[in-house]
């Protein structure tokens, strides 16, 4: 695979480790990156804040150069560069008059037929998770990460459209393939404040703080990003944010390409992890110990699980994670059968769950009226009978209170 590569201005400055690790990631995955010849800055947000045609023409010159190089896919790791190149591709493709204007402005031929991809699109869609997984020689087991997508990788929807706008998962898929665990957290597509950290630090600091605080609250021990501006804000400005907010954050931040290259066996030095502002090395050193603790925990669960499985085969299945797809399907079928039974004869099923006939009658009425409640009960009857009784009891108590009030 040979594709064009646009390092962007930060690649030789603040985001030098993004460039280093992207090059190593490509090398490891057998992708040849050809840097665009004599590329110029995309203009970023400053250009579209100032002059719309300028904001489309600056990236268009790069794409015109790429057409001359006979390449059709451009990898732009920086989220802002990706966003600006993608914008002109989409807009000029849809509007012939606009394309003519752009050609006039750049005084070059420009067909708008190329495709700019982000690092996430490239890794997940073009290279593929399986191909990445095959190259993992040093698993990231023990790591607990918050994948931070920020704004421009998933928006605007009409330009990106490769991952879910509100709940993207491509980066989580990569991290999982590398052996790490990822957390669910509400700030994965929130904005870090971008240039506000420079122009209005009073506002920017608070935005950065909220992102890090939310990652921590979700249980993450590090943040993964695919944008050099997010990195600049979360890493370089973290000490300043700590001072402004009067708290200690100590949150290591990594580029997704650093993680892929690291799991592929490259040393933290070669890919630039030693150049971060917040110490990002100690956490990596702590991973083997965390991985061992995790393994021990899993080991300790096994006898318990075996005991439970002996007592009730259904309870074992309730444990979720280790279930094979075939087992999951079997459980699902049992739940469906149980639900049908409840719907057919709620009184009979209720009597099986609650001994007290009066309360069982109320449960039967509840299950007949409320499909959600009957589904919940059906699920628990299959997976954990004790819990089914407890939940059913709670339903009845709640209903009795409601009736008293009424």
């Amino acid at each position: 695979m040979e594709i064009a590569y646009y390092p962007g201005c930060s690649g030789s400055g603040s985001g030098v480790e993004y460039k280093l690790s992207t090059l190593k990631t490509a090398e490891m995955l057998g992708v040849k990156l050809r840097e665009l010849e004599d590329w110029n800055c995309c203009g970023a947000t400053s250009a579209h804040n100032t002059n719309k045609l300028l904001s489309l023409s600056l990236p268009a010159r790069n794409l015109a150069i790429m057409e001359k190089m006979n390449l059709d896919t451009l990898l732009a790791p920086c989220a802002a560069c990706y966003n600006r190149h993608r914008a002109v591709e989409v807009e000029a493709k849809a509007d012939q008059a606009l394309r003519d204007k752009i050609q006039e402005a750049i005084a070059m031929e420009f067909s708008a037929q190329t495709t700019t991809v982000s690092v996430l699109e490239w890794l997940v869609r073009d290279v593929g998770i399986e191909a990445i997984q095959k190259k993992v020689s040093k698993s990231l087991k023990g790591m607990k990460a918050a994948c931070y997508y920020g704004c421009l990788l998933v928006r605007p929807v009409a330009h990106t459209g490769f991952d879910d706008t509100e709940d993207p998962s491509s980066m989580d898929q990569i991290m999982t393939a590398l052996g790490a665990r990822t957390v669910e957290w509400p700030y994965k597509t929130e904005c870090c404040g971008a240039a506000l950290a420079t122009s209005r630090p009073d506002i920017g600091s608070r935005m950065i703080y909220e992102v890090i605080r939310n990652a921590r609250a979700a249980g993450a021990e590090c943040i993964i990003t695919a944008c050099p501006l997010c990195m600049l804000n979360l890493d370089m400005r973290q000490a300043k944010v700590e001072k402004a907010m009067g708290v200690k954050l100590d949150m290591p931040v990594y580029y997704i390409t650093e993680m892929v290259a690291l799991a592929g066996g490259y040393s933290p030095q070669e890919i630039g992890i030693t150049r971060h502002f917040v110490d990002a090395i100690s956490y990596l050193h702590s991973l083997p110990e965390k991985a061992a603790a995790l393994a021990a925990e899993e080991e300790a669960k096994k006898p318990q699980k075996a005991a439970r499985a002996a007592a009730s085969p259904a309870a074992e299945k309730a444990d979720g994670e280790e279930q094979s797809p075939a087992d999951q399907e079997a459980t699902q079928k049992k739940i469906e059968a149980m639900l049908k039974g409840i719907q057919k004869n709620p009184e009979k099923m209720a009597a099986r769950i609650i001994a007290d006939p009066e309360r069982a009658q109320i449960l039967a009425e509840l299950m007949a009226q409320d499909e959600k409640k009957s589904l919940k009960i059906a699920e628990l009857m299959v997976t954990d009978k004790d819990k089914a009784t407890k939940v059913a009891d709670a339903f009845v108590t709640g209903e009795l209170k409601k009736r008293q009030k009424a």
Binding site: L58, L196, R200
Partner: protein, 188 residues
């Protein structure tokens, strides 16, 4: 047609609003003021008028008020509002168009953001690429905060994360010509 335009006089405000809507490829009349944009806006906490109210100002022809709002300079262009609008109003593009109009009319209230943009584009125009150290220096000089972020300079240098000299691309003249031509062509 004549009668219709007599009924709704085309004021200067209406003309600017039409221009802004045209540039942003969107219509403010689609907005039914639900507030979803403001609820999701990550910078609404710092704004004088949250996004919904900016649109309301425009719906009420209060263009001057909207152009002088701090909000349009605080907006970080994250596009959450546009992605979530149930009426498909492209609020982020409207904010963009408002910033450009405010610049053109010399109504910039938040000089710091505009100074950042100026410093950023100045480097691109001259060298073809943006030059991070230059942007910071220009920003500090322009906003009178000489020592802002100074503590970051040395650590960045130690980490090999700052270029001391700008890199001039071979086609810097071409890039300069793009700046000139797009300015002449009026930006649209």
């Amino acid at each position: 047609m004549k009668e219709a335009s007599a009924l709704i006089p085309v004021t200067a405000e209406k003309a600017i609003i039409a221009k802004i809507e045209h540039e942003a490829h969107t219509s403010i009349n689609h907005c039914y003021q639900c507030g979803k944009c403001s609820a999701g806006c990550p910078v609404a906490f710092a704004m004088d008028y949250p996004p919904r109210q900016i649109i309301r100002l425009l719906q009420l022809d209060l263009v001057d008020e909207a152009l002088r709002a701090d909000s349009i300079w605080i907006c970080a262009s994250c596009e959450t509002c546009s992605a979530r609008c149930p009426r498909n109003v492209d609020i982020a593009s409207l904010m963009d168009a408002l910033r450009r109009e405010a610049l053109a009319e010399g109504l910039v209230t938040d000089k710091k953001v505009a100074a950042f943009n100026e410093g950023f584009l100045g480097g691109v125009k001259r060298f073809g690429r943006s030059f991070e150290a230059g942007i910071l220096l220009y920003h500090n000089l322009k906003t009178g905060q000489l020592f802002k972020d100074m503590e970051l300079g040395l650590p960045m240098m130690k980490r090999g994360k700052i270029e001391l000299m700008p890199h001039r691309i071979k086609g810097s003249q071409e890039v300069q010509a793009i700046f000139e031509r797009t300015a002449q062509m009026g930006g649209e």
